[in-house]
């Protein structure tokens, strides 16, 4: 043994060390040379004659000045057929050229790498209303083709590292649904759209471990802008000064904040703004349909124990007024209460065979007694001409047909409700009605509150048709007008607004004058004259209480006065003209 196992060469053969002045025996000498041969044969030769038989530790490393071709696999500083295992960091001062495959199984961080191009893998799946489950080994790009839907389940994030991503492109015509491994929706991808899912956590199975973005659409045309491909649905879009251009066809529906768009609302006084009869005062409602208050609305309460009033306190946003139909507090027993408006035939013929939509705002009083707080909203048509609201409610219109009727459970907050139906081809009249069935004993506020009533052509409720007050008033005056100022209820103090004549000299002859109505009325109206008390069917001639007289009532005017023979030079009266339906 020449080496002691720790690298120390030992001369320990017999006769060693030799002694001065003695004969060195051949045995000792040969033993020494054998030891030396063994030792030299065990050493590494610098010219590469020997191959090492065990791992050689280089405590100070290896330094080579050999200049080699950086692309050579046979002339480099270190050449190994069995690979190089590096226990610590690997530092490459210049270039690292790898002719074969570089396999990295651990997490790799490349700081500011410059990469000319990357070949990313992709997979193509034909949609089949099935499920595609991705794993850590799945390709980055996932293409889906075909014509139906598919569900994609992203990998379990605990098998990934954060930052790993998948690009999912929907080349199918169906919708793709992308879920997390726990079945939570991460996103949906419409046809023609590409999305990007990035793993941002590795502990959850929910969508919270994924960042989701839409990164492209498949169809982009035009100049300097992205143009969506086929019939896109855009939800809650904000368009900044869009230019609509000149579309060849199509319809603009469900647009809010459009200003006066042309009398689309067939309901007159839908915002309950005009109340010529009562000017905001409460009026008792009877069990006979009648136009008690707010213009154009016929109201009934079969129990004779309710009021109808135009109110202004806390209407829904955008409105100043609403109508309140309220049972008298303490009234007991069931009753039917209804609010009705019928549309003049001249204003609804074009609705034949059309979709119509009724929208309205409604709110229940704090003590609303209807079962389940239900009200019924109805749109019905008839085939007659200008039949009455009473006959509409009674169901006795000629050819009565229901366009749509629906029950709504209203609440104590304002809510906009909508119903849609189709008008028959033979309809010549249309009307709407809100009705509820009261129960029990009425509390302090057993009321139905309504405003923003709109009946329009089309299957979508659009923004309310706000019309100028004067315009709405004129529309109402086609059906009811009065000499009192609009802000003064009929029967109110007659300080102004009266008609009359003064003939200079007292006379016992009849005194009659001509009244021109503000707008042409629907048909020849019922005219009621009042003296200054005011008492109906009376006029003032020298004194109140003289029998009123009319003649030649037409849609535009009436002769009105008295044939009373009291001697007077003056005759004065107020009037109403009513031709409601």
């Amino acid at each position: 043994m020449s080496y002691n196992g720790s690298g120390t060469f030992q001369i320990n053969t017999t006769g060693q060390p030799v002694v001065t002045g003695t004969v060195i025996s051949s045995t000792a000498f040969n033993a020494l040379t054998a030891d030396l041969a063994t030792g030299l044969s065990t050493a590494i030769t610098k010219d590469g004659q020997t191959a090492t038989t065990a791992r050689i530790p280089f405590a100070q490393g290896i330094t080579s000045t050999l200049v080699t071709d950086s692309s050579s696999t046979s002339t480099g500083s270190i050449i190994t057929a069995g690979g190089v295992g590096i226990a610590k960091n690997l530092y490459v001062g210049v270039n690292a050229n790898i002719a074969g495959t570089l396999n990295v199984t651990g997490s790799t961080t490349l700081t500011n790498p410059v990469i000319n191009n990357i070949k990313m893998g992709y997979s193509t799946t034909a949609t089949a209303a099935g499920t595609t489950t991705l794993t850590v080994s799945s390709n980055y790009r996932q293409f889906f083709t075909g014509s139906t839907t598919q569900t994609i389940v992203l990998p379990v994030t605990s098998t990934l590292v954060t930052g790993m991503a998948f690009e999912i492109e929907n080349n199918s015509t169906g919708l793709l649904t992308v879920n997390s491994s726990g079945g939570n929706l991460v996103g949906t991808i419409p046809a023609g759209v590409c999305a990007h899912a990035v793993c941002i956590g590795t502990t959850l199975t929910t969508a919270a471990d994924w960042d989701w973005d839409y990164i492209s659409t498949s169809t982009i045309t035009g100049t300097g802008a992205n143009v969506l491909g086929t019939s896109p649905t855009i939800t809650s879009a904000t368009l900044v000064t869009p230019a609509l251009g000149t579309p060849a066809s199509g319809s603009l529906v469900n647009c809010t904040d459009l200003n006066y768009t042309g009398f689309k609302n067939r309901i007159i006084n839908g915002a309950m703004a005009i109340d010529q009869r009562k000017a905001g005062a409460s009026v008792a409602v009877s069990n006979t349909d009648s136009y008690f208050g707010i213009d154009r609305y016929s109201v009934i309460d079969f129990s004779n124990a309710a009021t109808w009033q135009q109110l202004t306190t806390a209407p829904p946003a955008g409105f100043q007024y609403f109508g309140c139909l309220k049972r008298n507090s303490g009234t007991s027993g069931a009753s039917t209460l209804a609010i009705t408006q019928v549309v003049e035939s001249k204003n609804c013929i074009d609705l034949q065979s059309q979709s119509v939509t009724l929208s309205f705002w409604a709110k229940a009083g704090a003590n609303f007694s209807a079962a389940s707080s239900n009200i019924t909203a109805s749109v019905k048509t008839g085939t007659g001409t200008d039949q009455s609201a009473t006959n509409f409610r009674n169901g006795t219109w000629t050819g009565l047909a229901t366009v749509v009727t629906s029950t709504f459970a209203i609440t104590t907050s304002w809510v906009k409700y909508t119903i849609t139906g189709t008008v028959s081809a033979s309809a010549t009249q249309i009307g709407v009605q809100f009705q509820f069935e009261s129960t029990g004993t009425a509390g302090a506020d057993d009321s139905l509150n309504v405003t923003g009533v709109q009946l329009e052509k089309g299957s979508t409720a659009t923004s309310f048709d706000y019309r100028p007050y004067g315009t709405e008033l004129a529309l109402c005056q086609r059906y009811f007008t009065k000499s009192w100022p609009t802000s003064t209820a009929v029967g109110g103090a007659a300080t102004n607004g009266y008609f009359g004549i003064s003939v200079g000299t007292a006379t016992t002859a009849q005194l009659v004058t001509n009244i021109q109505f503000p707008v042409e009325m629907r048909a020849n109206p019922t005219v009621t004259l009042y003296d200054l008390v005011p008492t109906a069917n009376k006029v003032f001639k020298g004194a109140n209480g003289k029998t009123a007289y009319t003649a030649a009532i037409s849609t535009r005017s009436v002769y009105a006065g008295t044939q009373d023979t009291t001697s007077s030079a003056e005759m004065v009266f107020l009037y109403t003209a009513d031709i409601e339906l």
Partner: protein, 67 residues
Amino acid sequence: MIYKLSKNYLTQEIDVVVNLEKGGHIPFDPANTDYQAYLAWLDGYEMVDGQLQKTSEGNTPLPADES
């Protein structure tokens, strides 16, 4: 209900009926719902509890004043 006829002093024809209870001078116009109610009243019908009901065999208005 009580109605009274009224004569047009210009034409000497009766063209208005006056509702003496509710008030109102009603022209003879079929499109006027008050006139429709008057015609029903002539036939004995009146509104009762929101329904048109037969209450008599028929009614007659008061005659118009001579003028």
